[in-house]
Symmetry: C2
Amino acid sequence: MARSDGSGSREVPRIVILGGGFGGAYCALALERILDRLDPPATDRLMAGHGMRYRGEVPFDIFLVNSENYLVYQPMLAEVVSGNVGIEDTVGPLRRLLRRSHIYVREVESVDLDAGTVTLAPGIRPRPHVLGFDQLVVAVGSVSDFRGMPGLPEHALRFKTLADAVNLRNHVIHVLEQAAIESDPQLRRELLSFVVAGGGFSGTEVVAELNDFVRRWTRDQATLRDDEPRVVLVHSGERVLDRELTPGLSEYATDLLARRGVEIRLGARLQSATPATAVLADGSRIPTRTLVSTVPSSPNPLIEGVGLTTERGRVVCDAHLGAIGRANVWAVGDCAFVPGPDGAGSPPTAQHAVRQAKVLAENIVRALRAAPLKPYTFGGLGKLGSLGHHRAVAELPGGVHLSGRTAWLLWRTIYWWKLPGFDRKMRVGLSWLSDLIVGGNPVNLNLGRVQGVEQEHFEPGEYVFRQGDRGDGLYMVVRGTAEVRSGVGADETLLATLGPGEFFGEMALLGDGVRNASVCCAEPLDLLFIPRSDFAALLDRLPKMRESIEQVADARRERAEPEAYRGASAGGSEG
Amino acid sequence: MARSDGSGSREVPRIVILGGGFGGAYCALALERILDRLDPPATDRLMAGHGMRYRGEVPFDIFLVNSENYLVYQPMLAEVVSGNVGIEDTVGPLRRLLRRSHIYVREVESVDLDAGTVTLAPGIRPRPHVLGFDQLVVAVGSVSDFRGMPGLPEHALRFKTLADAVNLRNHVIHVLEQAAIESDPQLRRELLSFVVAGGGFSGTEVVAELNDFVRRWTRDQATLRDDEPRVVLVHSGERVLDRELTPGLSEYATDLLARRGVEIRLGARLQSATPATAVLADGSRIPTRTLVSTVPSSPNPLIEGVGLTTERGRVVCDAHLGAIGRANVWAVGDCAFVPGPDGAGSPPTAQHAVRQAKVLAENIVRALRAAPLKPYTFGGLGKLGSLGHHRAVAELPGGVHLSGRTAWLLWRTIYWWKLPGFDRKMRVGLSWLSDLIVGGNPVNLNLGRVQGVEQEHFEPGEYVFRQGDRGDGLYMVVRGTAEVRSGVGADETLLATLGPGEFFGEMALLGDGVRNASVCCAEPLDLLFIPRSDFAALLDRLPKMRESIEQVADARRERAEPEAYRGASAGGSEG
């Protein structure tokens, strides 16, 4: 395949880094610093009295590929939910951080190790872009992986990227706004229940910030009672953060969250989800419209196709961070399996990613010069977790344990200090200052998300829609069976049962827009939902489709009127 | 229709305000202040030594309906583009501003004046909500109206709401990112051209901020030359802002923008748009991937169906801001036609909306008490327009004209002073401070927008896609004819011509994903685009549809192979 890369000189080796998280971005940064030492940037040299501009002796070119143009400052993401930091303050533009690297804001499609090429997904024009490499750094991180958990891909909110954090925030504000004007007690309860699955650092931080935000909101609203909101943390362990911290600190965190009103379900696991329910492994159901899952996280599936030796999806590295069996391929961060002295890999934390990145940058340069490589040795680093509300827990090297306000101050200071760049420090500092003075900013930053064709999952006994609802789209059965029922409450009678490949809800779209039957299910049900607007556009343009849908609708209307209804009021049928 | 409103007491009259822009929000605020005078809030009374809590004597309830939970501070929206103010700083949460009003974050579906009800679109559950009123305030503002301008609804970016501003910013960052790595000179030119239509306050502010942002970005990037970006302002008048300001100031603004590198097309009008072109009324075409249209703006179409007397879509009011012919209906702001002494209506500006809102609030209360109403008299208010880069123009009452840095300082100070609430003043102040110190924050805040079924428009000679492109969806012809061509450049041969109802692009979706023919048009062409993912989901579930599409694909394949190709390489056909 021809290389279509447009920039960078071909006389010097090319280092291509896939991923702009902590591992990838800090590796590029460390490589830039090595370049700076060899060839100081123009301004520095002028100041130092060097007059001659550097010409063509750059020992390597750095290329960084990332799907976003920024580095996400993960530990602060949870604060976006409560609005304590501005949305843009939790990320740093890669171009500001990296002045000497070529930055490609694209998705990676595939990697060909033998050809030495990476194929990037199309940008504006629908043509892929091929980038050649001499040295390749795999730093693609991990992804939320909901496979095998029915309904989670469709109905659980993720918490990994900036978009996830903003979407969660928008969603929470939306349900709170709707709850304030909702008179139906059942729906009101669902709207005011918030479930977070996973009691690791990420889940704990999210539930703490969410709890603070929801309770602050409720306190300000005359139409919501303080005891109405329910915030639940579902965790499989014995205590919150029990895998991350010492028993003492873990207990402190658990107690603190419970005192603040978080309902903690220990030894529990999330099993499936529907639009209005979180279902746990023990069969219990929590009615909720807001389910956040911070588990499980697994290595980026891109790695599977590359042909490297992997260990549970992560690239197996030697002590020098080189991928096993490939001289010019390296891995760093959450997607790398770097065996420590005890044989276990380093934990997938930002601290390790940043430290690995520095060693890796040096090793790549050593490899280019055929110099001996440096091993990555990971020691005991500190652990910090925020618990919201100006409280945190910290486990420092040397057995020092902190909790409460002191730990929180330490947390803030350390993370603030580590923020890349002066401008980011400045912005976040000012943002925190204004937060201390005036509090958060509860604005629903909905950017007019388009609703497309999507899947939905329902558990036994749940309703897809009810008679009298507005028809907002058409459904097709993918798995399971749907029961079409007419009438309300005790008068409900079964009209029909629909299986895979059959559709319902078409009557409300062809007719006056109101559902004239209810649809529920007796077994788990997966549906494909086509929104009204897409459906209308398709019907208008696809005569064959309109025809076949109208045939079904007519048949149902005929069947329904003479017999199935027997004394029911209106002449309606399925949906 | 039954009233389904859940909150508010029914003993007192209900004032329902539709719209939370300047007119609506400030009307609610003025009404709250009247309530405060009658019945001070608890904290004030405690401080003043009043011990007794107020009981049930509230003379009215305020309901405000708005599709967002915030008031947009319109004059600052353009600064979102350059990142000079934080995204959330340009809006104020309505619940913070309005402490005594019932806020409904919903769309308005319809109004029944005789029944005294407003129907709100469904929220989370697909059921509409009916709200009764005794007094109704119509404050629904104006909307971008691209009807009758081919391609504008599909391809022009709007600039009216916060979502519009953030989307424009994201889009601009996206094209700049892609331009930096694009080697094709034609596409690079399109990516680096930015067109704004409309030289009023809004268009001028947008083009000024956009120009600043793009030039600052280019200066920082090694792979972009400073002379590459092209920023064009298309305006039908003789000078920029010639309808808003005196000739002197208007000339100053025109010169300033031109000096900063904005290409100003005067006496020109935008006529149509395609994905890669802005077409002007004189037939000239500007190749661009970024077209912003700030004209035309027309009153909210909701008004048409209400049954009020209108003048070019706006509600005709008497001098007291009451709708003609309806004793309990009022209008305010951009959607109201309030005749002045010369018979013309007040201009649709925030200043008028805010002043009208105060008079209106008082008149509603007077009407409730059967007291005589107050007329709205609009005098000469000042005019202010920002030109980016710390420059502005101002026309003050008494014939005082200012321009340049002084006007800009005045502009900032006045708007800052007018920001509702202390916390907003604080936040925006800090944001401006950090902007002065560290500059903007070029982060593409893409929230994972889902691509759904959408329309596209093409002008004669343009390509929908080219042979070799990646197939990202299926197209259906809505209007016009599409030409399917095989081969590249001089070897291009016409394979087929497709008309309304026919589709193309299916081969790339059923096959290996690469377009094996090009599609262009000889007359204006409107298409319906179905993205790959939606298409795949539908094909899997709708056997009838798959069947008919495969039939067409087979027929095309057969037809293409023996004859149409005659010596062409691969055995492909349409798309």
